[in-house]
């Protein structure tokens, strides 16, 4: 209990809201409930991401981590609560409208368009870019971040390795020039060296000033590169705090980080 007390200042249980960095959040969920049919997944989930932050959502299976991202993207409509982007409500908007506002989404399972080439996948990523002259420079920028993709631009995406496909999914989301990127389990099912690479790339995006919201099973790794984290449990906020604080917190370690 003494150890818990020592951490209590920085890691808060969710009864007291956590006001993190300064300024207005770029993306904010306020008391969002969401359901699949009759099964309610999210119970008043709240979180905020500020410009330039990397924020992780961690928690056990079924905690509703992915559901948070789907609710933000408009794939799942919240039953109650509000989702704000840049101070404006985006609750109830269609996915395409939300993408156009500047939110990028990398779905779980390194979903690429298998029958399309790498270049075509990236073109799809720029789907919402009205000025087609911008596609070329955007693609070149993706190729500097992910040189491997440049090498394979005419290769069919389905024939690449899992790690390469994840790189493509990450590169593709950048093509829409998002202001914040949501990533669902980017390291899931990858070979260890590609897991390293994924987190390295996330680090590079962060360095470049990108705002990121990560959902990860790989909680320790994810928190170590995050400014802040949220621990969800059964669709409710459980803990919140800075990445290092959550990593150091005994309760979080015991419950979610495997000791």
């Amino acid at each position: 209990m003494a150890a818990d007390g020592a951490q209590a200042q920085s890691v808060q249980t969710q009864s007291a809201a956590a006001p993190p960095a300064n300024g207005a959040p770029l993306l904010e969920l306020r008391d969002v409930d969401a359901s699949y049919g009759k099964v309610q997944i999210l119970h008043a989930a709240s979180l905020a991401i500020h410009p330039g932050e990397v924020v992780s959502i961690i928690g056990p299976n079924g905690a509703g981590k992915s559901t948070v991202l789907k609710a933000v993207m408009g794939i799942l409509r919240p039953t109650t609560g509000q989702i704000l982007f840049d101070g404006q409500s985006i609750t109830g908007l269609r996915p395409d409208q939300i993408v156009r506002r500047g939110i990028g989404y990398v779905p779980q399972g390194r979903i690429v368009f298998r029958d399309m080439t790498v270049a075509e996948n990236l073109e799809m990523g720029a789907f919402t870019i009205a000025d087609k002259g911008r596609v070329r420079p955007l693609m070149d920028r993706v190729f500097t971040v992910f040189p491997r993709l440049g090498e394979r631009r005419t290769q069919r995406a389905g024939t690449m390795s899992g790690g390469e496909q994840q790189m493509l999914a990450m590169g593709r989301v950048l093509m829409s020039e998002p202001r914040v990127v949501l990533m669902d389990e980017p390291s899931l099912g990858l070979a260890p060296r590609f897991i390293e690479l994924v987190f390295e790339k996330i680090g590079e995006l962060k360095e470049a000033g990108m705002t990121l919201l990560l959902v990860e099973q790989n909680a320790a790794k994810s928190l170590s590169i995050s400014d802040r984290g949220y621990v969800l449990e059964l669709g409710r906020n459980r803990f919140t705090g800075s990445g290092p604080d959550l990593l150091a917190d005994d309760r979080v370690r015991r419950l979610y980080l495997g000791g």
Partner: protein, 358 residues
């Protein structure tokens, strides 16, 4: 730190270069495929336009059937091949189109050309209405729903006999043939042959339009959107694609052709009744043809239509009973051994490039 190698992107890239995995390069001529197709299409149309002068009535009807199947398969492919939403609705659209066309002619509301066009638009309109609820269903649910709706259309047409004459069918006036003109000015000969083979030329035009539309869709951004839906609908939505709208548009576009083809077919056979035009085999033919040629490609349905129609005709000539066994067996073999169809086989061999222009 000895023995520990650092994973940097540069090292990754180096390994990729060394491993020398094949990176597909498109041949230079791929860029000019559009022009090649234009030349081929014009050549084929010129030859087919002259064909009735060379062939007997049987072969003209056979060619008409090939063109009909090209129109059906190519249009089926626009929705189902590109987006992966397999539809059994073509039989329904074919039946509705043949009835709309036949009844417009029968009740002398319009002459036959507007009747054919109206039949196409009528089915497209129906697709627009039923697409909204049904295209939310995925995979087999959509396929089964379309099968059911086709059957429903047949029952409605049968029961609504005050308008459709029900089960007794609709007879259309017989086309009065002119005696063949084989001498004199070429333009007179041509006018004569067109008059005597109106339905053949109408089907030729419809097949050409279907091919052009299919090429336009397949090489466009719209086609890319459909492919994205086929590969992963969730990811497509994550890209900002309005998937519902795209699917409904493709569905309406796709259903115009069976409707118009049905009207031409009605005129060609002269008598239609619900069991003959609302036959599920029309859907199956479109599907089998596309699968054989290559779903989601531009050339696949065309190649499939030519191969399958001519081969099944030969088998049918030999033994009308064996024909169905043959057709079923062929589909099974194709799905098992060349699931991508003839085109994928050629692409796997490296004889054709992997490009959306194919």
């Amino acid at each position: 730190m000895s023995g520990v190698t650092e994973e940097t992107p540069a090292a990754e890239l180096e390994r990729a270069r060394e491993s020398g995995r094949p990176v597909a390069r498109l041949p230079r001529w791929e860029r000019h495929l559009g022009w090649l197709y234009l030349v081929l299409l014009l050549g084929a149309v010129a030859w087919l336009a002259w064909f009735p002068r060379l062939a007997n009535a049987y072969n003209v009807t056979l060619a008409l059937t090939v063109l009909l199947v090209i129109a059906l398969a190519t249009s089926w492919n626009i929705l189902s091949g590109f987006s992966g939403y397999t539809s059994f609705g073509h039989a329904g659209f074919f039946g509705i189109g043949s009835y709309v066309g036949a009844l417009l002619i029968f009740y002398e509301r319009t002459s036959w050309i507007p009747a054919v066009i109206l039949a196409g638009f009528a089915t497209a309109l129906i697709a627009l209405v039923i697409g909204y609820p049904t295209l939310r269903l995925r995979g087999p649910y959509f396929a089964i729903t379309m099968l059911g709706l086709s059957e429903l259309a047949r029952i409605v047409v049968t029961a609504w006999d005050s308008l459709t004459l029900g089960g007794q069918g609709v007879y259309l006036p017989i086309l009065r043939l002119e005696p063949p003109v084989t001498s004199g000015p070429l333009i007179d000969q041509l006018r004569n042959v067109v008059h005597n083979n109106q339905n053949y030329y109408a089907m030729l035009l419809l097949a050409v339009v279907a091919i052009v539309v299919s090429y336009a869709v397949g090489t466009s951004r719209f086609g890319l959107e459909l492919l994205a839906i086929r590969d992963d609908e969730l990811a497509a939505r994550a890209m900002g694609i309005r998937t519902t709208r795209i699917k409904i548009t493709a569905f309406a576009l796709s259903s115009f052709f069976p409707g118009a083809a049905g009207a031409i077919y009605a005129r060609h056979v002269g008598l239609i009744d619900p069991p003959s035009v609302f036959l599920v085999i029309w859907s199956i033919r479109a599907i089998a043809t596309s699968i054989l040629g290559g779903q989601g490609t531009i050339l696949g349905p065309i190649i499939g239509a030519i191969v399958l129609t001519l081969v099944t005709e030969k088998v049918w000539e030999t033994d009308p009973n064996l024909y169905q066994v043959f057709l079923g067996g062929l589909i099974v073999l194709v799905v098992l051994f060349i699931p991508g169809g003839i085109l994928a086989l050629l692409q796997d061999r490296g004889w054709l490039p992997r490009t959306r222009r194919i």
